[in-house]
């Protein structure tokens, strides 16, 4: 019986630790497939972050991949050595909150009204 209780306590401890870990570590996420409103909200958040509208997304499907790229303003025909790069964002769940990590700055943008799901590993 004591052994059973000990094992139970140990299991509980591990579960708590594991839970803490899940809460504190960001998990790659995607938005729910087919949720057009979620896609629109995501786009609005990206526009707000980048200060321009509309934004064009690169080859990203936020319902399938956690990485999202926003295309830069296209170079003009005179820009024959253009340094532009896409802005890279990662959908993550941190502490139960879905949000976007802007890779270039390390800033996490919480999107509390967005429902995400963890990407299966």
């Amino acid at each position: 019986m004591r052994l059973f209780l000990l094992a139970g306590a140990l299991g509980l401890g591990l579960a708590v630790l594991s839970g803490c870990h899940l809460l504190s570590s960001p998990s790659p996420a995607v938005i729910e497939s087919g949720d057009r409103e979620a896609e629109a909200r995501l786009r609005r958040a990206l526009e707000q972050e980048l200060g321009r509208t509309p934004v064009d997304l690169g080859p990203s499907d936020p319902s399938r991949l956690s990485v999202i790229t926003v295309l830069p303003v296209p170079p003009g025909p005179l820009e024959d050595r253009s340094l532009v790069l896409p802005s890279v964002f990662r959908l993550q769940i941190r502490g139960g909150i879905c949000g976007l990590l802007r890779e270039q700055t390390g800033v996490f943008i919480p999107l509390s009204d967005l429902r995400c799901e963890v990407v299966p590993q």
Binding site: P59, P75, P77, P86
Partner: protein, 556 residues
């Protein structure tokens, strides 16, 4: 010595206090606050004095940024609110002066001229550059120009343009004119079949447009307008009739209808089987559109699957574009081992910038050899294939420019053998960040790209080793003229044939192959204006024809 922002602020505060005292005195004199009904006399503020020029003394450009003589309101086409504040022409000119001093690559070679001597911002910008010449005698800075921001932003879209799907080059723009097709794109009006052959094809010479003689006509402006409208249609759906002399000397009349088209960056791709293995051939015409990333990644994967052991990269009409895609292309040629821990290109700014990028204010980080997708049109982080070749053949002309030259220089920086077949490249190791101030966008050379070995000094271009021209940067290869008598990708086309021959024998063709480009090239005289295109598009075409230095709006 510089005067800081606080100096200006103090002056503004001081002026404000003075105004307040003046208003107070006037109010008292007028008896305001005494219950009288008469309106106070209008107060004329003291005249606003502009910044003071002291030779060699520069205030930070930020002091003057966005203080405009004419203030824009609202937002630009990207939805960004205009940052303009009420200011003066003097502040715009002082911004140009300080910005040039802070960011121009050759800032120490710019004569400091008093802005008060100028009444126009473009005229002032035009003198803010070096007047030095390169070893060849050409102007050191041939790339200094400006456009209205509205015109610039109108161009920074990937919107399709009206076109036939044919790249038309004016080899001689005064009588006898010589206008020919350099290449066509598949599935476009140009390649529609009539009588079993495409309407336009490489090397075809345009003899008439809508009844006007291209070669010797154009005596009146009305005729010139007809030529321009036909050669460079403004809108989709325009039908124009051409008499065409094809490369095989047959002649016929065809009617083409313009369509809205986006140029495909990778025009053609083929694998040539030789006794010593398969050779991949890619005709890659621009690094600019975001689709160029996927086009190259897919092409390289295909060449790898085919098992090629050499690649001929045809950049003869490639004027550059995205440097990051140039880096990816170079990685896909060289492979992971040769590129590991090495840089593709490092930016060198003016000496005062030190290790900082004076434009962004951030660290001056080099461009690596990108080994994954970047997110333009290939998923960010996705693996990309590489051929891991020790050498590459690059076909070049004077239109091979900028980011295309970076591929040559970047690969040479990591000891990949670059064999150059064709003509001297344009010689533009430089770049800029377009800068808007008060509705005008300025393009001023700010950096020189250098490779892993620190080399980036090729202002007169790269040339094959047997080129006769002096001052150029010679690298292994053969001088061969563009061969308009053969299709691109045809192993008998002179430049490709020379590459294949060099690959086998290590030597160049003895005599120039027959049937090459017209002897006359772009000249002076009554030109066929490329008026069907926007100003910026005209500049691009001009740049490809290497007439940029004297023909850019606002340039010098």
């Amino acid at each position: 010595m510089t005067v800081g922002v606080s100096g200006i602020s103090d002056r503004v505060r001081s002026r404000g206090l003075g105004s307040f005292v003046l208003v107070l005195i006037l109010c008292l004199a007028a008896g305001c606050g005494g219950g009288g009904s008469a309106a106070p006399a209008p107060v004329t503020p003291p005249p606003v004095s502009g910044p003071i020029w002291t030779q060699g003394v520069y205030q930070p450009a930020s002091t003057f940024k966005d203080f405009c003589s004419v203030v824009r309101t609202g937002s630009d086409s990207q939805g960004r609110p205009f940052p303009d504040k009420a200011g003066s022409l003097a502040q715009e000119l002082f911004w140009l002066r300080s910005w040039t001093n802070e960011t121009y690559l050759w800032n120490t070679e710019v004569a400091d001229q008093n802005p008060a001597s100028f009444t126009d911002r473009v005229a002032y910008f035009n003198v803010l550059k070096t007047s030095a010449t390169a070893a060849s005698g050409k102007a050191k800075d041939r790339f200094h120009f400006t456009l209205s921001t509205a015109d610039y932003l109108a161009q920074v879209t990937s919107a399709p343009e009206a076109s036939y799907g044919a790249e038309i080059k004016v080899f001689a723009n005064s009588p006898p004119r010589d206008v020919r097709v350099l290449y066509t794109a598949a599935s476009t009006p140009a390649t529609e079949l009539v009588g079993g052959r495409p309407k336009l094809a490489r090397g075809a010479r345009i003899l008439t447009v809508d009844g006007v003689d291209v070669v010797n006509g154009g005596a009146t402006q009305a005729e010139i307008d007809i030529l321009n409208r036909g050669l460079f249609p403004r809108t989709a759906g325009e039908a124009h009739t051409f008499t065409v002399l094809y490369a095989d000397q047959t002649q016929r009349t065809v009617t083409l209808q313009s369509a809205l088209l986006v140029e495909e960056p990778l025009n053609r791709q083929t694998v040539l089987t030789t006794p010593t293995g398969k050779v991949g051939y890619l005709l890659f015409n621009t690094f600019s559109p975001y689709s160029s990333e996927k086009a190259l990644v897919d092409a390289m994967a295909s060449l790898k699957a085919e098992g090629v052991n050499d690649v001929v990269l045809d950049l003869r009409y490639n004027g550059g574009g995205l440097l990051a895609v140039a880096s990816q292309l170079s990685y896909m040629i060289a492979g992971p081992t040769r590129t590991a821990g090495r840089i593709f290109e490092r930016l060198q700014f003016n000496a005062a910038a030190g290790t900082t990028n004076p434009v962004t204010g951030g660290a001056n980080n080099p461009t690596p050899f990108y080994s994954t997708g970047l997110g333009f049109s290939v998923t960010n982080g996705a693996a990309i294939q590489s051929l891991s070749l020790p050498r590459v053949f690059i076909l070049s002309t004077a239109s091979t420019c900028s980011a295309s030259e970076s591929v040559i220089n970047g690969l040479r920086g990591i000891d990949v053998e670059v064999v150059l077949i064709g003509g001297t490249t344009c010689g533009k190791p430089y770049g800029f960040y377009p800068a808007d101030n008060c509705g005008q966008t300025y393009f001023s050379i700010q950096f020189n790209g250098v490779n892993q070995k620190g080399f980036g000094d090729y202002p007169d271009g790269f040339a094959p080793a047997n080129a006769s021209s002096a001052f150029v940067t010679k690298i292994p290869g053969c001088s061969v003229a563009d061969d308009l008598s053969r299709d691109l990708g045809d192993p008998a086309e002179a430049m490709l044939a020379a590459a294949l021959g060099y690959r086998t024998t290590g030597s160049c063709p003895v005599a120039p192959p027959a049937g090459q480009a017209p002897a006359r090239t772009v000249d002076t005289g009554t030109p066929i204006e490329v008026s069907g295109r926007s100003a910026a598009a005209q500049i691009l075409r001009t740049m490809r024809d290497l007439r940029l230095p004297t023909q850019t709006p606002g340039g010098s």
